[in-house]
Amino acid sequence: MPAVKLTVNGKAVTADVDARTLLVQFLRENLRLTGTHVGCDTSQCGACVVHVNGKAVKSCTLLVLTADGTDVRTIESLATGDKLHPMQEAFREHHGLQCGFCTPGMIMTAVDIVNRKGNSLDEKTIREELEGNLCRCTGYHNIVKAIAAGAKAMGSGAHSQAAE
């Protein structure tokens, strides 16, 4: 079994893994970080989105061995103690979730959209950028509102943590 070494949510991790292990399996099963979810097997749904070296990646489509040496951030890294990340706050404030299953991937994608497209996002941009994230509960209406508000709040300076 080959060895893998990476940083997850700021902590160094080493392990011996079955070579077929996907990054999402490693996070959920080896590290017990179950916030990242598996919703499909064809890379469509986005429930598994994490950040690898600062970019949104579908962790179901990456072998953990390929993530060797990288800096991985999951949903569990966004809040600092009791203080929620502004994007998380925005999802709650705008009812951007119902069953919660797509939510971690949706929030991680949202933060990535802001990182790439800035803090002033219009509806059309958000809807196009969400092509890789499925939600069956909300009809996306409130997710779009939440992301626009979260983007603005991320730029307001009061809380400048963005998942990197």
């Binding site: 598996v38 064809t42 299953f101 939510t103 009809g139």
Partner: protein
């Protein structure tokens, strides 16, 4: 209205764990020593199983057991059931074929479980399953419900000649025939209500855990109704006595009906855990979900609507073939009968209605309730016929509807339902304003100048919800009652736990039920918690589906709170040394009427448990009350949805440019949550109308077998929605709630197709109206217009 009471848009209490990744879904639960199970599924739609050779599989690394249907039967594990008896016109009962959790004689659909492997890891179980040798004798298959009853089609089950499960009807056939003979105009439609895959984002999962020491089972399962699962698995499947089976539904990631049913997988996980002496876990792949989750809809219908010379509807008749798949799933029989035909009056005063339904077996996965369950199918029939009638008669579709609306309540329809209260004119009027219907002509002409086709479509829907009065459904064949339970436990320190037999898999009960209790008791909402989903904690409840949690679940809570208030006042009377009748309870305070003597909530609750101020002979200590509430009627949410589309004729691509929804849900507890339910329902309805289709080929192979081939609605397929409400209180429950969970999915498909057909000027299009279908319909229309010239 207080900031956290009924009617307030309280932000959800349950959100914290979901937005921080701390939810606990079934796959997040891990039992010490757990093993993993993989289901070997038939690759053939219809095949005899001649033999199964598991020797090579058993020898694979990590394998604990390879188990078959023969072993299941030998252990006397019973078959899965359908719990709603339907009789045919001739009085004979529905033909329910045996449905074992693992088949042994033959497989009847692609995905039918044929054997299972239990192993140390999921990968090892899958690797071993590939080594199982199954000798199949492939049989001809039939997948198309319209062909299932034909002479040439293979008979799937011995018990059902011509694959016919039942031939049911409702209404007065003779009176309807007479009305059609006398009609001035008849509109006709052939309708395919397309088959759908529910695709909740969380795949199904189960963990079966048998404990030798107590000879009892625990099941973690993605179920919408843990107590019903427990009852069926114990009493009908015979896994264990009911008191020896605990069912836990932790956080569940969406259901939409697909997680109501009792499926093979949870039964097998329980059985296997006893066989191997280890907890056994199963998590569905998405590909597996396509094959093995109950699908929705799949009706073939011919429908006709009769009009008199003034445009009044005089009759409606429909003949439907409903595909129930290879076996009868738990509620399947009710969906195309009592959840469908009984809504064929729509919002209209239609004097005569007759509906015939043939339910058939095919070699496809079982079909059962999916958001709306029968009511989207009914609404599509009625609302398409009315729209087509309006076009054929040259009457504005809003005007034709208004002319036919029911305006006096209660209104007895010819199809069992008696609508208690509503104001259909109010929702239509408000929707027309919000949608700027008057301005549509201008927008259409502007679009034409840009080379685009604009269309507008209505859906004035009604549904029967708040499922359901037990005696009523019992008399119609349902095997269970559909009441609901609630228990309120007040703690000595004054905090409150509400235990509800309902189950939240996205509906926000931890917030809405708390809003109700907090307002009633005058206590901070933070001090109220809601418990659901565990048969060890919560007394029997029927679960969540059929838009019932508000109307039925909250009514049970109100009854329990009534009892709490009564008991608390008794305790307060001893504490305040006053007559019980003189105690006034308001805003969390108990006062002796006409005095300034009072006691706070926390003092009274503490005294209830310390019991120093009264003797056991006078009053029992404690402050905990429960109630079971059985509704006296269905509820009837109704409303008007207006869809405006813009089609690019060169590609057939349909953009929804405006969506207006005005719904009457009676009293609304949390408008933010209610709007969210409407948004989600509309999205699923749009998905059915424009994008989604579960397709089996003629050999019963599922062609749309993954998210690569099955088009789920994405954010850029949908607009933002304009949502409003009108209110006529529900007269049949204490709070006046009608319910809202399914409305969007019920209303939307007809609104979309009415808009698309308006835009392209042709009725000749089926759901899903994909770009290809729309483009083809436009070409066909152009050709027939040229031919006509």
């Amino acid at each position: 209205m207080s900031a956290t009471g009924i009617g307030a848009a309280v932000r959800r209490k349950e959100d914290f764990r979901f937005i921080t990744g701390k939810g606990q879904y079934t796959d997040d639960v891990n039992r010490p020593g757990q093993a993993y199970i993989h289901f070997l599924r038939s690759p053939h739609a219809h095949a005899k199983i001649k033999s199964i050779d598991a020797k090579a599989a058993q020898a694979m690394p990590g394998v604990l057991a390879v188990l078959t249907g023969a072993q299941l039967a030998a252990d006397k594990i019973g078959n899965l059931i359908c719990g709603w008896m339907i009789h045919s016109k001739d009085g004979s009962p529905m033909k329910m074929a045996p449905h074992p959790a693992i088949v042994s004689a033959k497989a009847c659909y692609v995905g039918d479980p044929v054997a299972v492997v239990v192993a140390e890891t999921s990968a090892q179980a899958k690797d071993a399953a590939e080594k199982i040798k199954v000798d199949y004798e492939v049989l001809p298959a039939v997948a198309d419900p319209a062909a299932a009853q034909s002479k040439g089609s293979p008979q799937i089950h011995e018990v059902a000649p011509s694959n016919t499960i039942y031939q049911w009807h409702l209404g007065d056939a003779n009176a309807v025939d007479a009305a059609f003979k006398a009609a001035k105009h008849v509109s006709k439609l052939d309708i395919l209500n397309n088959r759908l895959v529910p695709n909740a984002m969380e795949p199904r999962a189960a963990i079966g855990d048998y404990d030798t020491g107590s000879d009892s089972f625990t099941l973690w399962n993605t179920t919408q109704n843990p107590h019903v699962a427990r009852l069926v698995i114990s009493a009908f499947i015979g896994m264990a006595p009911e008191h020896k089976l605990r069912v836990i539904a932790p956080d569940v990631g969406g259901g939409f009906g697909s997680k109501i049913f009792i499926y093979p997988e949870e039964v097998v996980c329980l059985w296997a855990s006893k066989k191997v002496g280890r907890p056994v876990k199963w998590v569905s792949d998405r590909v597996e979900a396509f094959l093995a989750d109950a699908h929705g809809r799949d009706h073939v219908t011919h429908a006709e609507m009769a009009f008199d010379g003034d445009g009044k509807i005089t009759a409606l008749r429909a003949k439907t073939i409903a595909n129930l798949g290879a076996y009868m799933s738990t509620f399947s029989s009710s969906v195309p009968t009592y959840l469908y035909a009984t809504l064929l009056s729509g919002q209209y005063a239609i004097p005569q209605i007759y509906c015939e339904v043939d339910a058939v077996y095919t070699n496809t996965v079982p079909v059962d309730a999916y958001r709306g369950a029968g009511r989207p199918e009914a609404t599509f029939v009625v609302e398409r016929l009315v729209e087509v009638g309006a076009r054929e008669l040259g009457i504005d579709p809003a005007d034709l509807r208004a002319k036919n609306f029911i305006a006096h309540f209660p209104h007895q329809t010819p199809v069992i339902m008696a609508y208690d209260a509503g104001d259909y004119h109010a929702s239509l009027k408000k929707a027309l304003e919000l949608a700027d219907y008057k301005g549509f002509g201008k927008r259409k002409r502007e679009a034409e100048r840009q080379g685009k086709l604009r269309g507008i479509g209505f859906s004035t829907y009604i549904e029967a919800c708040g499922i359901a009065p037990s005696q009523a459904v019992g008399s119609l064949g349902c095997g269970v009652g559909l009441w609901e339970s609630a228990e309120v436990r007040v703690n000595p320190t004054g905090s409150v736990e509400i235990l509800t037999g309902c189950h939240s898999h996205g509906q926000g009960h931890e917030t809405t039920f708390a809003q109700l209790a907090a307002e009633r008791l005058g206590i901070p909402i933070e001090t109220v918690s809601v418990v659901h989903g565990d048969t060890d904690k919560v007394q029997f409840g029927m679960g969540t589906y059929g838009s019932r949690s508000g109307a039925v679940g909250m009514s049970a809570l109100v009854k329990a709170l009534d009892k709490i208030e009564a008991k608390a006042k008794k305790v307060a009377s001893y504490l305040l040394e006053a007559a019980e009748n003189d105690i006034v309870f308001k805003d969390g305070k108990f006062t002796v009427a006409g005095t300034d003597k009072s006691a706070a909530w926390g003092d009274v609750t503490l005294n209830a448990y310390i019991a120093h101020k009264f003797s056991g002979a006078q009053l029992e200590p404690g402050l905990k009350e429960g109630a079971f509430y059985d509704p006296t009627n269905f509820t009837f949410p109704a409303g008007c949805h207006i869809c405006e589309v813009e089609i690019d004729p060169s590609t057939g691509d349909t953009a929804i440019v405006n969506w207006t929804a005005v719904d009457d849900f009676g009293v609304v507890v949390n408008p933010m949550i209610v709007e969210g339910q409407v948004h989600g329902g509309i999205a699923q309805g749009v998905g059915q109308a424009l994008l989604e289709n579960a397709v089996y080929d003629k050999d019963g192979q599922l062609v749309t077998g993954s998210l690569m081939d099955y088009t789920m609605p994405r954010a850029d397929n949908l607009p933002s929605f304009k949502v409003g409400t009108t209110v006529t209180k529900c007269p049949s429950n204490p709070l006046g709630i009608k319910g809202c969970g399914e409305a969007g999915a019920i209303a939307a498909p007809a609104a979309v197709i009415n808009a698309v057909t308006d835009a392209i000027g042709s009725e000749d299009i089926s759901m899903p109206a994909t770009a290809q279908a729309v483009w083809s319909a436009i070409q066909k229309r152009n050709q027939s217009r040229q031919a006509a010239q």
